[in-house]
């Protein structure tokens, strides 16, 4: 063993600091408590500190940071949504992503690949045209292309998809990207930590104290803390937390599964999505194919995987790329997707004063991590919804004014 390494190992004060400060105890009170140390919670802490100078903040995470859906997602980043509210919001997020590696001084492996949403039917082509027009109106690079462009950028594809689902065209979104999900959580976490926010892992919220319609504190496995502001960013755990506060939401939880293949030489530059074949696929920096499909067909609040999933997904992948028939699946897993009836998130104010929701992120919230942090921090500080999230309020269901985003969901759910 090299002498320097030994000295490093034995030294009490490591010359290099750990990435995060470990805190022994919770303080008795904080200005803002954030439930959930996923990307969204950590980004909220980061922007509270950086944009608003609020650092007396605790992020409470029952497991380890980034261990929820943040660390389980297939990392597709895009802004070619269907509603004006969605397009503006996700565009802001894509813009914020561009600078993050520099801002964090951490390589996020942000990789712009171009994103094809394949259309195999007339009705899918119609939705693609609609999305392209909405996107262009808001200045987003998005266009309908023919099968020859799909073939040009992905020569390995069988355009007839085994003969039963011929590709008629696609929505092409040049800014479509993938990034390293863990690094996004770590970057935001370290940035928040450096500015004074406290991240408490292994600390679960077990109850929320509400008096006279206002939040007054939070019970945790490490004791009670008082606070007047709580941001709840717990994805698939949202209904358990809103039950603690005492109001209902339309959120329902289904597992969403994903898997990766063995690593192979780089061959797939783009991100491909097919609604009809229920598949999305990209190739990671490690060479693995990262693949996902639609939601599991019924409610489950755990992260169990099933054999049906790789079977179905592999069959569809072979329709597109028959040459993969000998490649192996090396890992599969699941996350709990917090779904909403209109496929738009639920963000902002709630019936309880001081309790702010960042939820309903279902199968699409990784791309929104930066903009969620930014708008949730603003919303909690100003006690009113940021202008980019007014279309996502919980109230919209009571008023029957939904934000129909289902046509922009990656695969037909």
């Amino acid at each position: 063993m090299p002498w320097r390494l030994l000295r490093f190992g034995l030294s009490k004060s490591h010359p290099e600091p750990r990435m995060f400060t470990a805190h022994d105890k919770l303080k008795p009170s904080y200005d803002v408590v954030i439930i959930g140390g996923g990307g969204h919670g950590l980004a909220s802490a980061y922007y509270l500190a950086r944009d608003h100078g609020i650092t007396n903040v605790a992020v409470l995470e029952k497991g380890y940071i980034g261990g929820g859906n943040t660390g389980r997602n297939t990392t597709i980043i895009r802004s070619n949504y269907l509603t004006p509210e969605g397009v503006k919001f996700y565009d802001k997020s894509v813009q914020l992503y561009q600078d993050l590696s520099t801002e964090f001084d951490l390589n996020l492996f942000y990789s712009t690949r171009g994103h094809f949403t394949l259309a195999h039917t007339d009705s899918a082509m119609r939705t693609m045209r609609w999305r392209a027009e909405v996107n262009k109106h808001y200045g987003i690079a998005s266009e309908v292309v023919g099968p020859e462009e799909v073939k040009r950028q992905t020569p390995q594809i069988d355009l007839s998809c085994g003969g039963h689902a011929p590709i008629q065209g696609a929505l092409y979104h040049a800014p479509g990207a993938v990034a390293r999900h863990d690094a996004v959580a770590w970057g935001y976490g370290r940035g928040a930590d450096m500015r004074g926010a406290e991240i408490h892992q292994q600390t679960a919220v077990t109850g929320i104290e509400v008096k006279g319609g206002k939040v007054v504190g939070v019970h945790t496995t490490k004791g009670f803390i008082s606070t007047n502001k709580v941001i709840c960013a717990v994805a698939g755990f949202t209904p358990r937390i809103t039950d603690m506060v005492g109001f209902k939401t339309p959120i329902f939880v289904h597992p969403l599964q994903a898997m990766v293949s063995e690593p192979m030489k780089p061959w797939l530059d783009t991100i491909l999505v097919s609604g009809s074949l229920h598949i999305y696929v990209s190739q990671s920096a490690r060479g693995e194919l990262v693949m996902g499909a639609s939601l599991d067909p019924y409610e489950v609040q755990s992260t169990r995987s099933t054999l049906d999933f790789p079977e179905g997904l592999a069959a569809h992948l072979l329709d597109m790329f028959p040459f993969l028939s000998h490649s192996k699946v090396v890992r599969q897993w699941a996350g709990m997707a917090d779904m909403t009836p209109d496929f738009a998130p639920i963000m902002g104010m709630t019936p309880v004063e001081g309790f702010y929701l960042d939820s309903g992120w279902g199968t699409w919230g990784f791309k929104a991590t930066p903009v969620c942090g930014k708008t949730m921090a603003w919303t909690a500080v100003n006690d009113k919804p940021h202008e980019l999230i007014t279309g996502f309020s919980l109230d919209r269901f009571r008023n029957y004014s939904l934000t129909g985003e289902k046509g922009a969901a990656s695969v037909g759910h």
């Binding site: 209904p239 329902f252 019924y298 409610e299 609040q301 049906d308 009571r398 008023n399």
Partner: protein, 85 residues
């Protein structure tokens, strides 16, 4: 393979079944308020628990009720509507 037991056709692969969500009493559409109706249409009990759910065995179009633990994904029992004794 996941299995589900249809009260009429017996135990079959779960891919033969469609899930239709938790049983929820509908308010009277003529007399309830807009808020009550919105609550019924949209809101769900999204937390885990043992729930009574509608399922349908699609090849035979048999509708029935399953009591299922939604955290463990375990079906406790299934029966036809009205047979809950």
């Amino acid at each position: 393979m996941k299995l589900m037991t249809c009260p009429i056709n017996g135990t079959r692969p779960i891919s033969e079944f469609a899930y239709w969500g938790e049983i929820r009493p509908a308010p009277d559409a003529d007399t309830c308020s807009d808020d009550q109706w919105a609550e019924y249409v949209f809101h769900r009990n999204g937390a885990p628990g043992v729930k009574k759910e509608w399922w349908c065995h699609t090849p035979s179009n048999t509708w029935f009720i399953a009591e299922r633990d939604t955290e463990k994904d375990k079906v406790l029992r299934t029966y036809l509507h009205g047979d809950d004794k």
